[in-house]
């Protein structure tokens, strides 16, 4: 072998080694990339105190002092919601709330709107099962002006036929638009099915009933429920309780006191039999499935936090059981989640999924199996800890925006929950353990849930292949007939 060849070989060897080193540097990743980093120590969450004071006329002022927002939020909570409407006048609570702000003895609806918007204020009204909520987001510098307007609106309202016509018209079209949405219709029908015979069923009306409401009804509802002792002014933002009381009492002390009847509906009774229901949404391309039951306990019950952990495991996010199984693993659903809602007398849980028509039976079967698994202690300790970690970590995110903070505090105030859902909320989640989750699962998930499917009429053919009887409802939620295998019962 010649010397030059040796040199060439040595040089080639060095180049090769160099290339190999280079290649390994390019391809190999730094070690820290292989595993996620450990978290830093958790930082303290400092929550403002929720403090309350009752004025002489019974009006409650509640404040949570949170400086540095630039925006103040006033939430006026009237303890009168859809469930308070008379049985023959569903929707009256919502129409009345929308009429408030529609004119006073000296200001027209247009004047009021002008005054509100001139200050950059956002004023909105929403009506829930048991409350009417007036939400006002106002720049700090215009709070005093806004209180003057609110005094006018609440203490000297004038209800006119003209305004009622306008409110009914807008509300009618809103409800009609919602009816074509499978999710909204489905949720309403679930409440109707689960709270049959209960005052909560009154919240399940469609647009067809709005025409029955007249001005006398509105005035009567307002007189009965818009009374100081039935109202809470919740103030969040750069203001403590003393200042809030001073400012609000200056305007609302003159509101005469009236006794208000304490309203406590009975707890709902859970569904005990297998029910498969169908509601037609003529233009729907897909099927929306709801599966759920009522819950005979309130958010102040010790079972609330274990149930929150349970609900999260079932379908709180896209990483949880139902989504992973029905969408990611089986490919049956576009989505699948579980949710809960609580009122003064109890609550409900429901699972919601959307799918193609041909996958509906699979979704129902898999979900019911999952509920059976859950009610028979099918949890791992790891799942419990992950669910708790989510609920604890997510808590500050729920109060980040002034509007979110106000909404959280409004729910706590409206449902009389107090500190157990505020300063002690994280501790309450931390205390949940495997045994408590298994206990509530057995207690509340063992009863057969109500199944409701929404979609085109073709779906009935699909459902009857799997289930012996289907209760069929019209698009307003009224029963039409029961379809049994091989026959139709009127």
């Amino acid at each position: 072998m010649s010397f030059s060849w040796c040199l060439f070989r040595a040089a080639a060897g060095r180049i090769l080694i160099g290339l190999l080193v280079l290649a390994s540097t390019v391809n190999a990743q730094e070690r820290f990339r292989k595993t996620p980093p450990l978290p830093e120590p958790r930082q303290e969450l400092k929550l403002p105190a929720i403090e309350s004071h009752v004025l002489a006329n019974g009006l409650t002022v509640t404040a949570a002092n949170l400086p540095g927002q630039g925006i103040m939020t006033i939430t006026i909570i009237v303890r009168a919601g859809d469930a308070h409407s008379p049985p023959k006048l569903p929707g009256l609570a919502a129409v009345t709330a929308r009429m408030v702000g529609g004119g006073t003895k000296v200001l027209s609806a247009a004047d009021i709107e002008n005054f509100i918007e001139e200050t950059g204020t956002d004023f909105s009204v929403s009506v829930t099962m048991e409350h009417s909520l007036f939400k006002i987001h106002v720049l700090e510098e215009y709070l005093d002006r806004m209180l003057v307007i609110l005094r006018q609106i609440f203490l000297e309202p004038v209800f006119t036929e003209r305004e009622l016509t306008a409110v009914k018209r807008t509300y009618y079209y809103e409800l009609r638009e919602k009816r074509s949405n499978g999710e909204v219709s489905g949720m309403r029908q679930m409440v109707r099915l689960l709270f049959a015979g209960h005052p909560y069923m009154k919240a399940t009306y469609a647009e067809d009933v709005i025409k029955f409401i007249n001005l006398r009804d509105v005035i009567s509802f307002y007189s009965a429920y818009y009374r100081p002792a039935n109202i809470v002014f919740l103030v969040t933002g750069n203001m403590g309780l003393n200042s809030a009381v001073r400012k609000i009492s200056q305007h609302f002390n003159m509101w005469p006191a009236h006794p208000v009847e304490f309203w406590q509906p009975p707890p709902p009774v859970a569904n005990e039999k297998n029910r498969i229901c169908f509601m037609e949404i003529p233009m729907a391309r897909d099927a929306t499935v709801f599966i759920g039951n009522s819950l005979p306990f309130t958010a102040s019950d010790p079972d609330y936090f274990p149930f929150a952990v349970l609900n999260h495991i079932l379908g709180g996010t896209t990483s949880n059981r139902l989504f992973m199984k029905l969408r990611e693993s089986k490919g049956y659903a576009y989505y699948a989640f579980s949710e809960t809602e609580f009122y003064l007398a109890g609550g409900l849980y429901w699972i919601k999924a959307r799918s193609k028509l041909e996958d509906v039976n699979n979704i129902i079967r898999e979900t019911i199996n999952e509920l059976k698994n859950i009610s028979s202690a099918g949890f791992s300790p790891n799942e419990i800890e992950e669910a708790k970690s989510y609920l604890i970590g997510n808590f500050p995110l729920k109060i980040e925006r002034p509007a979110d903070l106000a909404e959280t505090l409004a729910a706590i105030t409206a449902l009389n929950l107090g500190d157990s859902h505020w300063h002690r909320a994280i501790d309450n989640v931390m205390l949940v353990n495997l045994e408590r989750v298994e206990e509530v699962a057995l207690k509340y998930m063992s009863a057969p849930p109500v199944v409701l499917v929404l979609g085109k009429a073709d779906l009935l053919t699909e459902l009857i292949k799997e289930f012996p009887a289907i209760e069929v409802f019209d698009q307003f939620g009224s029963p039409k007939f029961v379809m049994t295998k091989g026959e139709k019962t009127q």
């Binding site: 990743q29 820290f32 990339r33 595993t35 996620p36 980093p37 450990l38 978290p39 830093e40 120590p41 958790r42 930082q43 303290e44 969450l45 540095g68 927002q69 630039g70 000296v106 709107e113 002008n114 005054f115 918007e117 200050t119 950059g120 956002d122 987001h137 106002v138 720049l139 700090e140 215009y142 005093d144 002006r145 003057v148 307007i149 006018q152 306008a166 018209r169 079209y173 009609r176 949405n181 499978g182 897909d286 996010t317 896209t318 990483s319 990611e328 576009y334 959307r354 193609k356 992950e386 989510y390 609920l391 604890i392 997510n394 808590f395 500050p396 995110l397 980040e400 925006r401 509007a403």
Partner: protein, 452 residues
């Protein structure tokens, strides 16, 4: 009218006047009163050697932090036959990378209580998460891993393709005006890159693995990205983590900025579409605001508020409240690179009302070209804008997105309040001038949305 009735009317009028006299001084809002500033947040900008632009914004009020990564990989980068490619990549970014399994990014964030999402927009695709601030390292680890080593396997691509096709079906099922709104964009921006639909079932079906890989290779690189961290952070600690996770990533190829559009429209465009699953007819009206002069953009946003924001805005007040010829009216300013457009969408109870609403709307826009907006009306719009701006700034994610938008346009700012100030200085003459130049037929597109 009988005498007694007249007297009652007069008494009422007198009472009304005296009460108004008492109330008005209290309620009147003095012009230009924007005295109380909202809290500012320290912001710092810098770049890594590989071109990754960084924005840090501190806010210690809650123990949370938002981490946002934006790539210059929006729909403008899609070529003909690729409608939906940018959105395809957005979805693939959750299908795993070298050290993170499929959908694990989501589960890592959700396990710690975080919330996350992504958006495909016109010029960029944005990924964001808000998490407990002690977990900042985790978010940076996850984002850097998918920036450097996304798994683009054939199976992942097919899985996402199937999901997107389902999503299109779902949107068609639940959003009756969805096809019309996509069609409207093609009319308003008659240039493929600017106006093509952001999601096309046919194109999604035909996209090849190579096309998808090339899109990732070309655009999902540090040199084409901005990282913004906003929340309870110490800048020095955050910088250390950023260098660790992103500092050694290669910058990626260089590429041309998107071509400017060429709109060839000489007179107004009026077209009709059919929406058989919709409950009501309606229309979409749009005006392109291009080219814009200095200060025009701020005037345009205030004009948006004058016309459309709040019940007392000109259009909502007249069409919805007073004349009741539209039962729903919405509108907004939209930006596609340096092209801004004002879009207005109305729903009406029937076709006759729809036509009437269009005539009234046209008259209102014409009025803006001849009569200056009053000082009171201008100030009202500014206050509404300010309140919305402050609500936006209250969220860390929204604040980060806002800072990224400004930086993307080459206008990084020291503080949000400095930007707000520009809107507060808009004068009525600027709005009149803007209306004269842009409310013209050659920039107008109208789509009638029929139901049969």
């Amino acid at each position: 009218m009988c005498l007694i009735k007249k007297m009652i009317v007069n008494i009422k009028r007198g009472l009304f006047l005296s009460l108004i006299t008492v109330l008005v001084p209290v309620l009147l809002v003095s012009g230009g009163q924007f005295d109380r500033d909202f809290p500012d947040f320290p912001v710092e900008y810098y770049s890594l050697k590989n071109g990754l632009r960084i924005i840090l914004c501190s806010d210690p009020s809650l123990p949370i932090v938002s981490v946002v990564v934006a790539y210059g990989a929006g729909t403008v980068r899609e070529k003909k036959g690729q409608a939906g490619l940018a959105y395809f990549l957005e979805n693939l970014m959750f299908q795993g990378s070298e050290n993170v399994g499929p959908l694990q990014h989501i589960s890592y964030i959700q396990k710690i209580g975080g919330e996350l999402n992504a958006q495909t927009r016109f010029e960029k695709t944005v990924f964001y998460q808000t998490i407990p601030s002690n977990q900042l390292g985790l978010a940076l680890w996850l984002e850097s891993d998918r920036m450097r080593s996304l798994s683009l396997s054939a199976s992942a691509v097919e899985k996402v393709r199937g999901e997107l096709i389902k999503e299109i079906d779902n949107r068609l099922a639940t959003e009756p005006y969805f096809p019309s709104l996509e069609y409207f964009d093609t009319l308003l921006y008659p240039d493929y890159a600017y106006g093509h639909p952001w999601l096309s079932g046919e194109d999604i079906r035909n996209l090849t693995l190579d096309t998808i890989r090339n899109f990732y290779r070309d655009y999902y690189v540090p040199g084409n990205a901005v990282l913004c961290i906003c929340g309870n952070i110490q800048f020095s600690k955050a910088k250390e983590l950023i260098t660790r996770y992103f500092g050694t990533l290669p910058p990626g190829p260089s590429f041309r900025p998107p071509d400017p559009p060429s709109f060839n429209q000489e007179s107004d465009v009026v077209v009709r579409s059919l929406n058989p699953s919709a409950a009501s007819p309606g229309f979409c009206l749009g005006y392109r605001f291009h080219p814009l002069q200095t200060g025009d953009y701020h005037a345009l946003r205030i004009l948006e508020y004058i016309l459309l924001k709040g019940n007392t805005s000109r259009l909502v007040s007249r069409l919805v409240k007073k004349e009741m010829i539209a039962y729903s009216l919405d509108g907004w300013v939209e930006d596609r690179m340096n092209i801004s457009a004002l879009k207005i969408i109305a729903l009406n109870t029937n076709e006759v009302m729809s036509q009437r609403a269009q005539r009234v709307l046209a008259a209102e826009l014409e009025r803006l070209k001849t009569s200056p907006v009053s000082e009171n009306e201008l100030n009202k719009a500014k206050r509404l804008f300010k309140a919305d701006f402050m609500r936006q700034m209250a969220s860390r994610v929204d604040r980060a997105l806002f800072l990224i938008d400004l930086a993307w346009r080459g206008n990084p700012l020291d503080s949000p309040s400095a930007e707000l100030e520009k809107y507060m200085k808009v004068e009525s003459q600027s709005i009149l001038s803007l209306a004269v130049r842009h409310f013209v037929p050659a920039k107008r597109v109208l789509l009638n949305m029929g139901i049969r």
